[in-house]
């Protein structure tokens, strides 16, 4: 191929000579990257100052440069120029200041009104990863660019049309309206909602959504989607109406909005949609977190809402097994009310799961200080003690291992012994159960579900059995009240 074939061409949309491209080495194929793609290049930048002063070079650094195309992160000339290149192509881009750093320049290297010359080599590109974790779980390919700058914000009312595909089969094709942040309530998968947040009006795109951002390990039988299935969607943003930003609201409005979010959260909580409920409660916090309130009435209201929100988030997090976050929110709640029983109780629960037996126990004890009759807390303390003991046992065993001879002897003895199920419990003593409620009553007190029983009078553990013998009255709850209690949500487990 001769040099003559590669004439310098003006590649600006309005042909103003702002970016002149000359191919130095032709690339392969016909594909070029599209806006949003992550591209990898090598480049050498020089000033058009007669001396061709080099101001930057990725080659000198020995590392390819990676950037998002068409996002305005790099100078305009590049967003235009690289989008015309093919894989493996090397091109020279001559960029007028209007397409580079303009009148301000970029001190200290690029003076004002400088024309820049780049030699760029394009290596590869991949679709735009729009997942928050950047783990490749939501890849977007924009097929039609949207209008303007706006994206829907949280709480915006959004209308989209989408077609969902699993392999070749279309499983969903619908137009749907939803509140941003609550798409789950309309059956919209996380991947699509996440993408909608980043779309502009009129935009159309294709999405590759990994299972974790769609139907996960459960799959979706009604759509014939097996577990762990990656899906494809075509989404069009039809219209959206932005919600008022919190800074646009005064405190009264914020309190009102917080109240709305709270009741929405409670609704979702009742539907056992804990993730969504949590989001709503978190909104309450976001509205009021940094608000300084002057009026006494509002102050009390804010405090009450913040306390409830933190407590409820803590509970949602317990439900979704995010123990650490749950604990954090309990701590926040306790800042608002240092003697909050639920705060301590939930904190203790989270700590138990985090295996901080000591802290958990201390918090359960705090509950007991405030509410001496709280059976669940009493049980909690015992559970912690039990675990601490187990730990000690484990430690003991570990040390025993050091004296291998002794350990071997012990092993021999242990294997001879019949398995009685007590080995796990450690030094469990039935006398400790004195004065305790049977398990079913304890569960009721804090709203945990009773494990299903195969035989009606078999107790869940030896502890209650023993208790039954000692305090027969307590162990037999009135049938009517028992029924009634299992149906209504007990206090410890409902949103505040």
């Amino acid at each position: 191929m001769t040099q003559n074939e590669f004439q310098p061409t003006d590649i600006t949309p309005n042909k103003d000579g702002g970016v002149i491209k000359q191919i130095i080495k032709e690339g392969e194929g016909n594909d070029s990257p599209v806006p949003g793609d992550k591209v990898k290049v090598h480049y050498v930048g020089t000033l058009d100052d007669g001396a061709e002063t080099q101001f930057d070079s990725s080659r000198d650094r020995g590392e390819q440069f990676e950037f998002d195309l068409g996002k305005g992160s790099v100078i305009k000339a590049w967003d235009i120029g690289v989008a015309t290149m093919k894989k493996g192509e090397i091109a020279k881009l001559t960029c007028k200041p209007e397409y580079a750093y303009g009148a301000t320049g970029a001190p200290p290297k690029i003076p004002a009104n400088a024309t820049l010359i780049f030699e760029v080599e394009l290596f590869e590109w991949k679709g735009e990863d729009i997942s928050e974790e950047e783990d490749g779980s939501i890849i977007r390919h924009i097929t039609t660019k949207g209008k303007g700058y706006k994206n829907p914000n949280d709480n915006a009312l959004v209308k989209i049309h989408y077609v969902g595909r699993y392999k070749e089969n279309v499983f969903e094709d619908r137009e749907v309206e939803f509140t941003m942040g609550e798409g789950d309530a309309q059956g919209i998968v996380e991947g699509v909602e996440e993408a909608a947040k980043k779309m502009k009006e009129g935009e159309k795109c294709r999405l590759d959504v990994k299972a974790i951002r769609a139907y996960g390990s459960q799959g979706k039988p009604e759509f014939n989607i097996p577990p762990d299935a990656d899906l494809h969607y075509d989404v069009e943003m039809l219209h959206f109406e932005k919600a008022k930003d919190s800074w646009e609201m005064d405190i009264k409005e914020k309190l009102q909005q917080a109240e709305v979010s709270k009741s929405k959260g409670t609704k979702y909580f009742k539907e056992e949609n804990f993730k969504l409920a949590c989001k709503c409660y978190e909104k309450v916090i976001k509205y009021l977190e940094f608000e300084t309130v002057t009026e006494e009435d509002d102050k009390a209201k804010r405090r009450e809402l913040m306390l409830a929100a933190h407590l409820n988030v803590a509970m949602c997090k317990l439900k979704t097994k995010e123990w650490y976050d749950s604990k954090k929110h309990c701590e926040k709640a306790l800042e608002f009310d240092p003697n909050n029983v639920k705060g301590f109780f939930r904190k203790a629960q989270a700590e138990y799961e985090l295996k901080d037996w000591k802290e958990s126990k201390a918090d359960y004890q705090k509950v007991l200080e405030l509410e001496p009759a709280n059976k669940a807390a009493k049980n909690g303390v015992l559970k912690c003690e039990q675990q601490e003991k187990k730990d000690k046992e484990r430690e003991k065993k570990l040390y025993q291992g050091i004296f291998s001879k002794m350990a071997k002897e012990n092993q021999a003895k242990e294997s001879e012994r019949p398995q009685d199920g007590f080995a796990e419990i450690g030094e469990w003593d039935n006398s400790m159960a004195r004065g305790m409620l049977p398990l079913d009553r304890e569960c009721e007190a804090f709203g945990e579900k009773m494990p299903e029983r195969a035989v009606s009078d078999t107790c869940a553990n030896g502890l209650v059995e023993n208790d039954k013998q000692e305090t027969p009255k307590e162990s037999k709850p009135e049938p009517a009240s028992a029924n009634g209690e299992t149906e209504s949500k007990p206090e410890g487990d409902t949103p505040v």
């Binding site: 930057d56 000198d60 750093y101 301000t104 320049g105 001190p107 290297k109 994206n151 800074w247």
Partner: protein, 551 residues
């Protein structure tokens, strides 16, 4: 070079092991006595002249010697200190490197004596360089121990220096101590950085990635503590002849090291940024915690140098983008706007630290980036990214700065504020003004902002068709926000005077500029409301004050 020790006077082959042991014990006792009585001559006789060959007591001798090489001895018993130094050199030269390394590190665990620390640094360096190439773990342990000394350096106090006073900063003993120790630490690192340097053509960087990562981590940690709290500004044009401040000197050394380790600072920062993001999101951290539970001790050890604080990154961005240190390792292809947006979260962090040198770094970086952006190039929609509003809040809450009584910081804020607002389109500016009026309670700041808004209205009125954000409904909205008298007639006029005067000035301008029969701004439609809500209460206030003065 590794010379085999010369054993002139003892023939171990013919000696009974018991005898050797007894002989060692005796020698050790004698050495200890010499150390105790600071007997330089004796010390040199036993170790250097007799060419001490009892390797079994090297560990203890090392401990004894290092323990005597203190600041006090250097000042008051210089000759003894030097003797110890020479003896230690002999031990380091002739001992088993691994053993001597541990013996030295053992002495590094108290954070009091910097002289001792420096002695340890230079000897550890010698020992490590003697160890074979595969010493990653030794270097790792060493870094862990030595960086603990740096971490234990006390936080530098904020002297709140005004005007030219910062030039006196290096006289602060805390600062000169920090400089002394950190400089020794950086010099210590030099050969290990060279081993994996991009400038070293003999190195195989791909195989030594763990060393690169580890060293990078420790260097970045230095940026947060203690470098962030030092003065690092330097103007090559004005101050070319002058001696550089301690902070600057360290900054330059550190960046020089870093450039040898990382070809692209951008990639370095971006990778760390993502890690932080994930950690904040808590997704990764749950997995990490699980791992931590599973392999308790292992993970903890490796985590340490992996944990780079965001303030370290902020300090790096400051050094690169404001001080232009290591600028060649930063791509010159990003738009100014993108860089600003990228740095804002870090600027926010810097501004939130309650230390004037740190706040200055944040403001200088912000100033540099904001000045590179042409007025009107950002859209109102860009404000949807909360960070723009958050940094604005920090800028306008001068009250907090005032608490520190640092006039310079305050002035810098006031200089940056209008440029910051002007980066946006007219609609964007209007929204920023609105945010200020809604959220700021500082009368001076509001007064100043009213002046800026007035300027925009004036510019708008010069156009044939004024922008809608500066007339009519929008103007009324702003007037409503600024003319309110919060506590009615009981308002303290003096506290609010800056605001009230600015409002009066603005109203005067509007009424003169826009005649009632033209009424292009719509001010005359709104006038009755102003009379009722603003003039009324202010007059009452005034009368109350007058009456109380008369009484």
């Amino acid at each position: 070079m590794n010379k085999p020790p010369c054993f002139d006077n003892i023939d171990f082959n013919t000696m009974d092991p018991m005898e050797i042991s007894a002989d060692s014990e005796r020698t050790l006792k004698q050495i200890k006595e010499c150390v105790q009585f600071k007997d330089s001559k004796g010390l040199k006789t036993f170790i250097l002249e007799h060419k001490l060959a009892h390797t079994n007591i090297f560990w203890e001798v090392t401990s004894e010697l290092v323990n005597s090489m203190t600041h006090e001895n250097l000042n008051n018993h210089t000759y003894f200190f030097e003797s110890c130094e020479r003896c230690l050199n002999y031990i380091v030269e002739n001992g088993n490197p691994k053993e001597i390394l541990l013996a030295l590190l053992e002495q590094a665990d108290c954070f009091k004596d910097d002289e001792k620390f420096k002695v340890i640094l230079s000897n550890v360096q010698t020992v490590l360089l003697k160890l074979p190439a595969k010493r990653h773990h030794s270097l790792d342990i060493t870094m862990e121990t030595l960086s603990a000394h740096i971490e234990a350096l006390p936080a530098l106090s904020d002297h709140d220096l005004e005007g030219e006073e910062w030039k006196l900063l290096d006289l602060d003993p805390e600062v000169s101590r920090t400089h002394d120790v950190v400089k020794a630490y950086l010099l210590f690192l030099k050969p290990f950085i060279w081993e994996v340097s991009t400038k070293n053509s003999e190195t195989d960087r791909t195989n030594r990635e763990s060393q690169i990562k580890m060293l990078t981590g420790y260097l970045l940690r230095l940026l947060h503590h203690p470098l962030l709290y030092l003065h690092m500004r330097f103007n090559p044009k004005e101050e070319a002849e002058k001696k550089k401040m301690y902070g600057r000197e360290l900054g330059e050394m550190l960046i020089d090291h870093l450039t040898q380790l990382c070809p692209s600072f951008w990639k370095l920062i971006d990778t760390e940024k993502k890690k932080h993001y994930l950690r904040k999101k808590g997704k990764q951290s749950q997995a990490e915690r699980k791992r931590a539970v599973d392999h308790d001790d292992i993970v903890k050890d490796w985590k340490k140098h992996d944990d780079v604080s965001e303030l370290s990154l902020a300090c790096l961005l400051y050094l690169v983008l404001k001080e232009y240190l290591g600028i060649d390792n930063f791509p010159a292809i990003f738009t100014n706007q993108y860089l600003l947006q990228y740095c804002l979260p870090y600027i926010k962090l810097l501004l939130e630290v309650d230390h004037s040198f740190v706040k200055f770094k944040g403001l200088y970086l912000l100033q540099t980036l904001v000045y590179n952006i042409l007025p009107g190039s950002l859209q109102a929609e860009d404000l949807e990214q909360d960070i723009y509003k958050e940094v604005l809040q920090l800028l306008i809450h001068i009250d907090d700065f005032l608490k520190m009584k640092n006039q310079e910081l305050r002035q810098l804020c006031v200089t940056i504020f209008p440029v910051y607002v002007n980066m946006f389109s007219l609609a964007g500016r209007y929204r920023l003004f609105e945010i200020v009026f809604r959220t700021c309670h500082h009368a001076g700041m509001i007064g100043y902002t009213i002046g800026l808004y007035k300027g925009e209205v004036d510019k708008a009125l010069r156009q044939d068709r004024p922008d809608r954000h500066y007339v009519g409904r929008h103007l009324q909205n702003i007037l409503k926000l600024v003319t309110g008298i919060p506590n009615g007639a009981t308002t303290d006029l003096l506290d609010n005077s800056d605001r009230i005067f600015a409002v009066l000035n603005f109203l005067r301008y509007l009424t003169l500029r826009d005649a009632p029969n033209v009424n292009i701004t719509g001010i005359w439609d709104y006038y009755p409301v102003i009379e009722k809500d603003f003039f009324g209460p202010s007059e009452t206030c005034n009368r109350v004050v007058q009456r109380s003065l008369q009484a």
